[in-house]
């Protein structure tokens, strides 16, 4: 009996652990919801089952303090990011503790960037009208996506979340995003993106509670070829709340202290 209890608890713990594990079994959901005009109704409170993507898009083992990742890259087939040599070197450099200060999310740009804002371990709300889809992130940022054919904003205008334009292909919402500022990291492990990034995202509902999310990233400055990630977005109970990151961000000073100490040590050599 005790063993059964322990096993049940362990199962619960395993699923509670944000990492490489498969998501827990869910009740079967009904058919895809529809709006009055027959389009899929994507609205609601969702969270990505990012499988540890925020800690590295490639498959990686769990470490203390960093959840494992099942690997969300579906192209290239080997599941590896096709990094340019400089980008690989930079990614390795970002693994050093003194570089933690450089991740924009440490400065509270916490839902900044595409596709990271989707798989940040925090939920989002999708709001949909015939002419706009809005993604509202719990960490208090947003993306507005006009539906149609408007051109992207002028190239010199560069944004944390880029400029998005969407259209429907059957039941799939396709979102093309450009005009990124290149300042974001793709995860805490320091996965790279540059100002040349362009993203095509595909939101495909599979049932009433699940959307398959695919994002193809093209960035010839940082990568040798385009690459694609895929993960489910799962409907959540309740509603999004707020995470007001600037309220009490004590970590930034800690991270700055670590960076400054490393710099002083380097200077003293």
């Amino acid at each position: 009996m005790k063993l059964t209890l322990a096993l049940a608890l362990l199962t619960a713990l395993a699923t509670a652990n944000i990492g490489a594990q498969a998501p827990p079994a869910r009740k079967p959901a009904g058919p895809v919801l529809r709006t009055a005009d027959g389009k899929p109704n994507l609205q609601g409170h969702f969270q990505a089952d990012g499988g540890g993507a925020n800690y590295g898009l490639e498959r990686h083992a769990e470490k203390v303090g960093m959840p494992g990742g099942r690997g969300v890259i579906v192209d290239p087939p080997d599941g590896k990011l096709p990094l340019q040599p400089w980008a690989e070197a930079e990614r390795q450099a970002r693994a050093r503790p003194e570089r933690g200060y450089d991740d924009p999310t440490a400065h509270c740009f916490v839902s900044a960037g595409v596709p990271r804002s989707i798989y940040t371990p925090s939920p989002l709300q999708i709001v949909q009208t015939p002419t706009y889809v809005a993604l509202l992130f719990e960490r208090m940022s947003w993306r507005t996506i006009p539906i149609g054919t408007r051109p992207h904003i002028p190239d010199p205008v560069r944004l944390w979340n880029g400029d998005s334009v969407g259209h429907w292909e059957g039941d799939t919402l396709v979102v093309e995003t450009t005009n990124f500022n290149g300042k974001t990291w793709l995860g805490e492990s320091g996965d790279i993106i540059s100002y040349a990034e362009q993203v095509v995202e595909r939101f495909t509902p599979v049932d009433a509670d699940t959307i398959t999310y695919r994002a193809t990233v093209t960035d010839p400055v940082a990568y040798t070829r385009p690459w694609t990630i895929e993960m489910p977005l799962i409907r959540q109970q309740g509603e999004i709340l707020e995470v007001a990151c600037h309220e009490d961000n004590q970590d930034l000073q800690h991270l700055k202290d670590i960076r400054d100490a490393a710099r002083a040590k380097e200077k003293g050599k």
Binding site: K2, L3, L5, A6, L9, L10, L13, A14, T15, A16, N17, I18, G19, P23, P24, R26, K27, A29, Q47, A48, D49, G50, E62, K63, V64, G65, M66, P67, P97, E98, G100, D103, T105, A106, C108, V110, P121, E138, E188, S189, I234, R235, Q236, Q237, G238, L241, E242, V243, A244, C245, H246, E247, D248, N249, Q250, D251, L252, H254, L255, D257
Partner: protein, 134 residues
């Protein structure tokens, strides 16, 4: 008795392996995986704040000296979804807090779990996608 002890050990091991708080910054940059911490102390303040909550706990050392530890948790929403409630963490509540110490050596830690006086153990991280789904 032996059986229940070993069960407790299994569960404790699993808890220790649990993910840290879902942070807005790199764990490895700020905290030291080689400095696991398990402390028992009295709550002096619970700060229900963002991007992380902070539990401040007075811990009395073997020499009788009291050190106030700052224990970082997930943001307040994550704690709420994990079942944390204000009435559980009033001043002078005795807690067992587990996690990892900051690299800078100060009495600051990243919290994995807390154990409340009534035996409930709460995770300090944000819920994963599957936990909060229908």
């Amino acid at each position: 008795m032996k059986a229940s002890l070993s069960v407790a050990a299994i569960v404790a091991a699993a808890l220790t392996a649990a993910a840290p708080v879902a942070a807005h910054h790199s764990f490895a940059a700020e905290f030291d995986e080689n400095k696991p911490v398990k402390l028992t102390g009295k709550v002096t303040e619970m700060r229900w704040s963002n991007p992380h909550g902070w539990i401040y706990v007075d811990v009395t050392g073997p020499d009788g000296k009291v050190v106030n530890w700052a224990c970082e948790t997930a943001a307040v929403n994550g704690l709420y979804r994990r079942g944390w409630r204000k009435e559980d963490l009033v001043k002078d509540t005795v807690l067992v807090v587990e996690g990892w110490q900051a690299r800078n050596g100060t009495p600051t830690m990243n919290t994995s779990t807390i154990l409340l006086p009534d035996g409930r153990r709460l995770f300090a991280g944000a819920p994963a996608a599957g936990e909060n789904s229908k």
